[in-house]
Symmetry: D2
Subunit: 429 residues, 4 copies
């Protein structure tokens, strides 16, 4: 049996106050969808089966290069983080896996497995870190890691990734995610072609050690921490990497890693069409890699991404992208943000499932641009909260995760146990 962190009676009490309205809303929505030829229960079943991973580092308060302002009850280590993840999973029933970051989360793999399984949690992709120097590390990543001009530094970075795979094998992960900050800050600092050659050779060495049933995910990003060029700067480069490495290599799309104005849903389509869409790091952004909560800034864009995903599902039954939240929670309780973000990702999925794809295709074929876009808008306008809430309830979660979480007083409780953390300047000085 799975342990729970939030007292089930608190969950039940809050649910009880809401369940009647929920059923009324669900039924009335069901009738409206029925008119459109859609079975609400079928949608609910799909939503109920949806999972999105939570990153271990996401449950701590994030910061900027200017400052970090920690909150109360910051997790002290990976075991505290797993407990925070368990809260999110318990209330939302949508986040059954945790993604680790090495070396931040380094610990005895067996203890990790035990700690997670106690709460019914599994492990998603392993994340390596060669964008900052760990204590005692021999070579510095100041001027690059997998693509460094220095062979010893590249070798160290390769070995770190191999270690991540080893840890992952023990705890049951099936994927390695590689995101690096390598690039340059000045025109001329690096030779683009040579740097990318180094990168590809290093990645081939990592790929060679990848178990057959694993995937390796590479993630592109336009800029930051490198401010003139980045070695994996866009989906074009990311696609070439996945092609060069082989069938187990796939591309990750982070919604905040693109140039201004870029049509992200189109990148999603292209990668899928050519067999290289591995999955997502969900978050939202207005300017750069702002790492805001998924759907907080442009919820329609999130819907349009899921519109592609549902379209791909329809053509390829074997399509199973890896979904993870990847956000920096600077001004909210990270648990609250992650619960609502998981829900907002589900919302986009549910709305995309409502699109009448026959009608859409007919409008597309007939060049009826207005009818086509209205088919999307009609689905998007639908308030699917009753579907999400009932799916949560039936899976054992909370109708209103935020209200239940606040009622449970979890943050105050851990703040008594976990020592206060001091804030201060970020990386800038």
């Amino acid at each position: 049996m799975t342990d729970t962190i939030i007292d089930p009676s608190v969950v039940e009490a809050d649910n009880a106050r809401r369940v009647d309205d929920l059923h009324a809303d669900y039924d009335s929505l069901g009738e409206r969808l029925d008119r459109r030829g859609i079975s609400i229960d079928a949608i609910k079943a799909k939503v109920a089966g949806f999972n999105i991973a939570v990153p271990s580092w996401g449950v701590g308060t994030g910061g900027t290069r200017f400052a970090r302002f920690p909150g109360l009850g910051e997790p002290r280590d990976i075991f505290d983080k797993i407990e925070d993840c368990a809260v999110i999973s318990q209330l939302t029933q949508a986040t059954k896996t945790v993604s680790l970051h090495i070396p931040w989360d380094k610990a005895d793999p067996n203890r990790l497995k035990q700690a997670a399984s106690r709460f019914g949690l599994g492990f998603d992709a392993m994340n390596s870190n060669t964008f900052s120097d760990a204590k005692g590390q021999l070579q510095s990543y100041k001027f690059g890691s997998l693509s460094s001009a220095d062979a010893a530094t590249r070798q160290q970075a390769i070995e770190h990734n191999l270690e991540c795979i080893e840890i992952g094998k023990t705890i049951g992960s099936k994927a390695l995610t590689v995101w690096i900050g390598d690039g340059s800050n000045f025109p001329g600092q690096v030779n683009f072609a040579r740097q990318f050659e180094h990168y590809l050779n290093s990645m081939k060495a990592v790929y060679a050690a990848l178990p057959d049933d694993w995937r390796i995910y590479t993630e592109h990003k336009m800029y930051e921490p490198a401010f003139y060029s980045t070695v994996v700067q866009d989906w074009g480069t990311n696609y070439i990497i996945a092609k060069e490495l082989g069938d187990k290599a796939m591309c990750l799309v982070d919604l905040g890693h693109h140039a201004p104005n870029v049509n992200i849903e189109m990148i999603v389509s292209r990668l899928a069409q050519f067999g290289k869409l591995g999955g997502f790091h969900f978050n939202d952004s207005k300017y750069g890699d702002d790492d805001l909560d998924a759907g907080a800034i442009d919820p329609y864009r999130l819907f349009l991404v899921f519109n592609e995903l549902v379209d791909i599902e329809g053509r390829d039954a074997d399509f199973h992208p890896a979904h993870m939240l990847d956000q920096s929670h600077n001004v909210t309780d990270p648990i609250e943000s992650l619960m609502l973000s998981a829900s907002d990702v589900q919302r986009a999925y549910a709305q995309a499932l409502l699109v009448d794809r026959k009608e859409l295709e007919a409008a597309q074929q007939g060049n009826d641009a207005l009818a086509a876009t209205q088919a999307l808008r009609l689905a998007y306008r639908t308030d699917v909260e009753p579907i999400l809430a009932l799916a949560r309830l039936e899976n054992g979660g909370a109708i209103d995760p935020l209200a239940t979480y606040r009622a449970a007083g979890y943050r105050a409780r851990v703040a008594e146990i976990r020592p206060a953390v001091e804030g201060g300047s970020g990386g800038i000085v």
Copy 2:
């Protein structure tokens, strides 16, 4: 013998007034370069061998969707345009080829050949046009051409491209450039994957008819005339196209067709590294596809592009990218803009040739970012105008093409022959 449009005595008179200063400046620059271990004559020889194509449509005054304000002496047809191109070539000695746009430049191919050869001009890549409807055309391109949902429309667009190849064969062109405006204005208007599949199939039909010694160039563009999605939206898609089509297919880079902030020189490097850099449409831009004069807004960016090209030349002796100017001259005399732009492209090339590549590589290998970027800056800061001017003079051109052109009174002269054109609203209403 080659005909000249500008009276040679005018050229000689202006040159005579400048030649002494030019020699003095060239010698003094030569001494400074000599200190850096560079032979100025070797640089001059490379500059003298540099050619960039002029697009036939570039010699007319451009416009925006809001308005077009024609200038004096607008060319009436392709034969007037060829004369204007001949002026540019005569004075700059850098633009020996003209690139045609069909159907705008449709005429008896033999007359075209004769008209051009009279001035020593050849023909560069053929450009097809399926982004606007020609008079009497059966199917409209309103909703797309090569990627249209409609098979008859796609077929018509394919045949138009085949016709361009046929014309090109007759006049001695060796390449077809395909840029289309296909895309969509609304989320849902098109299915991205299906539209791209249509595009690839159409392009395969065109490719099949391409002579063995030809190249086909595809050009990506982020947006405009389509404002939500564009089928060939970025270099990632462009690269996939070139891979799908085959060895004769290469990617064109237009400097104004990218998302804001994108590192264009890095795209140049990536395409070259994977064998798919076909060439350039040069211009400059501050906001979108502004089509301003090359080097007018960010001359250092132009230099950084050429820094890549010289680097590639050093690794691949068979590297021969196709260079063309592609600008819209809305407020200047197009001939003046094209002459100075050709010169500014040469300038960037000359400056890139001055980079001490051994020093640069040593700085890169040693992570000396400052020394590396200074190696570029030192080359870029060098005023290479004496090199460009002497190369022009020795090739039979003008030391100062702008001054000579103005002295010759060409624009006033053609304004007497060619009828005034009325301006008015652009496409918007």
Copy 3:
């Protein structure tokens, strides 16, 4: 009594098929809102009183600098345009005013008044045009109009604006909107300070002729048709203009005229806070001034703008911004786009009215960022279509304007009367 263009029996027939479902949906939404302490009828009343102007030029098919692809039944003149506007008004009951563009819509003012009043339409702001040359115009606006370096050109532009005021007085308009394309395409082409001084002096001359009960609206735009600098480039310059001119001068905000990533709703707030928010040109955009249908790309942004407007309404009872649609319909039937856009603007307004402002303010005061943003999201997620539809129905319009319009066969009918228009290249060549 007001004439109608669409046969009322067609409207009634379509409404009859939908009215029962509408009432059911309205009631069920009313119950849900009631739980949140909101009276659905009060919201409906506000929506019913909402008006947005339709621009006369919006009912024609737009184009880009590359091409224009006209549709069927393009309006031949302002009288056809008024009929098209009457259709939009009849079915949506949200667009009671038309905004004219001079000289495009020049006609006998009395005939204009009569034509509009027949359909119960009034006239919104007058729009002057000094961004393209009209036939027979003495001075060209190629190098600027109100800010031209040439005094005679500035004078001509001033007089054109005075003429617009005169026409407006006769037909009952109460405002002049001035948008110009003046700027430059090259660094150095203009002296920024001198150009702006010319602009201000010209505008002061126009302002001096403005009747006391009129407003003058100035509109900023980052770029296009000028591609290096634009004289009224952003809200900062726009604000200075309005301050320099006087109390009758106010700033217009067009949603597509900003730099990438800019927070538009914040500009709305700043202009209102300092008394200079005049109103809006609504549309949507992904890249530049794409002029897509309002809410088509980022509906949440449109909501956030209305969230500000409702907030301002709450503080200032005298706040009456001027709303107009300003879109370019390149691939849709303009009437369809305008009907749905009017509806989408109303939708954003209705959703913004649902925000619990007490709860929002409490969350803001308590730094509860999550609760604050959820207060907005809850309102935004609400599907308010039943409110909009019932407001339309009760005002005499159509429950589903698009379905009714298509059922009425209006476009086919006018296509028989109005001659086909040929497409072709846009301004570019």
Copy 4:
């Protein structure tokens, strides 16, 4: 007499090896300028009188939110920093002042004064810090400082600024620079109008305490550390602030704080035209607030800014903007970057002084866009390094500051004294 940190004999030795070539280059440039009617000595005199402040925090290695990779010999405190600044000043003779950041640089003011004056250094503007929490601080700035919803937090931020003024008075500063990170990360988190009202009221309290011969500089920034809205987000808001506060309030322009594509030189012109241009924080950027070395990415933009400044100088003899470098040196030796950046700012100034303003104005008045932009390009293309170098030499500095600095072995020397600093993650975790 002024102390020097770098042994003068090292400077002299390097200068001696270069001085003959320098004189030859200066003379040959002088001849070329003479042909254009320009006195090279007059330009040199202006360059020699140019000063730019160095920020105390700039001499330490910067970082990002992902990591910080310290270099050797990082300054331990403000006294080490002053020594590093003295090196820069000694070799470049262009950076006579240091700008302090409180509380980072807090120390006995008399000791500060003594330490600086020993090297002939003065103090530029004081910088307050309310964007991170200092140790022991009562109220947190997590949710804002001068614009916080909480009155006690605002009061604390005001008092911190007053303290900065007090310190500044003692050490001879004449200005306070206020940059804050206040804003929000979520739509709805703050009420824009109320937050700005709080900000203005707080600033008025600070302004009230400003000595009569001081200035207060406010600096806008589009985003970061706030990722949805920033209270002083652009020059429009910045201008309003300066107007609301009074004559001693002026706007600072940081070159990296703008939206993508924005025309910064035009903002410079507007602020100057309306009397509110206070000065600059120089750096360069490609994506966001990248804080790269001035002129490293787009040197022509830096020139265009100085083109405006020289234009303003010509109209207003009392124009004395405050210049400071504000860069983050993540991969270079900060002293090297600051020396070269100071030089690159001088370079832009020298090039702008070369513009033939009569010719430029004539071209502008005659709408000769090409000639106008060529007037700028001619000046920009001139390699003015000999002017800068001779000005340095004659002032007692180094002909080649970088070579001299490296020859002097300063970094290795301080690395022996100053303890190594450990790197690690930035603010993100």
